[in-house]
Symmetry: C2
Subunit: 209 residues, 2 copies
């Protein structure tokens, strides 16, 4: 297996933390998104969507998308389950990941890509070019405010996303809070429960991945 | 189990088609989104996010989000697998679903919610209000054009999303093509492969669900 990574990007970091929590090491290749390496002919042969992370299996099969890659890794390395321990938990982790994808990563990406000069025609990831929409950058920031408030309420009664069970949802959440810093959004002072959760997951050795 | 449904909405339809393909029947409750029933106190006690579909288990556990619900149903009713038959296939179906969620459902929702007078402050689903952004409606239409072209290229070489295996990704895709009609986007005449695929999946009895 080979893992196509980008050390500076939030999505591949989720896979790195996942692997660190599993204690699994996989050969990796760095793709420099800042230099546009994802659009090179060589890379787009592997990934027509020009995206990282990717997991390329020994038979050449290419797996894309964070949640799909981690789902596969969970099946291949079932010890220390991070995607849920029962059918119900697996659905709940999946649901948190879906919400965090929409209300966290997409919100952060809206705020970042629609307001950063270097992304002038690159307001969305992927192979198609889209113009920036300044109002969408503003809405992205507002959505992050709402997410932080919603998460604070959740963590008032829960140690982690899934009660006392650390899961993939915590990995997604941690990565979003750190990604939000790119657009100068930090956990508000009054969100003490969210801050407590963040400190806890950020203190795990995997967070350095 | 009880399934909270809305006959007119695209997301719950994915679960209905999934159940029809499985040949499984579950008691359902209709939530009238057009009348705002999702914001009633009774419903928001079940779903603080004011969303359908929901699956409520016999012990009261509430499962939300289409992909998570179907993932659970697949584990409970494993016959006729729709989410993949191997770890690799499960990751691939998951990846298609993730892409279709972002580039199909979100694109359609952007186009629809940002241009429909009745959604004035409801440009996004969920409990928070967001103003409409007319440019985002335009971008949503453009994204659907790009999706149709991308899918047409895919179906030039593939009977279904997953080669000759009908899966949850086909259910997602079918529902998106029908949802796109809400914003007057139809499969372009030159997308003959996409049209061939659509006719095939739309002819299955489950499509009427």
């Amino acid at each position: 297996m080979k893992f196509y990574d980008c050390k500076t990007a939030p999505s591949p970091r989720r896979v790195r933390i996942f692997l660190a929590e599993k204690g699994v090491e996989i050969d990796s290749v760095q793709v420099d998104l800042a230099k546009g390496e994802q659009f090179s002919d060589a890379f787009m042969k592997i990934s027509p969507l020009a995206e990282v992370p990717l997991l390329v299996l020994d038979d050449g099969t290419v797996l894309s998308q964070v949640n799909a890659i981690c789902r596969y890794l969970e099946e291949v390395f079932p010890e220390n389950p991070l995607c849920g321990r029962t059918p119900v938990e697996r659905a709940q982790v999946d649901a948190f990941n879906g919400l965090l994808q929409m209300n966290g990563f997409m919100a952060g990406a809206e705020a970042f890509r629609n307001a950063t000069p270097g992304f002038k025609n690159r307001a969305m990831p992927g192979p198609h070019n889209y113009s920036q929409i300044p109002e969408l950058a503003e809405r992205g920031l507002l959505r992050l405010d709402n997410l932080f408030a919603d998460l604070d309420a959740h963590f008032a009664d829960n140690q982690f996303f899934m009660g006392d069970y650390y899961s993939m949802a915590d990995i997604s959440g941690l990565t979003i809070v750190d990604f939000a810093k790119w657009v100068k959004k930090f956990i508000p002072e009054n969100c003490v429960h969210l801050q407590r959760w963040y400190d806890q997951v950020n203190d795990r050795p995997s967070a350095k991945a």
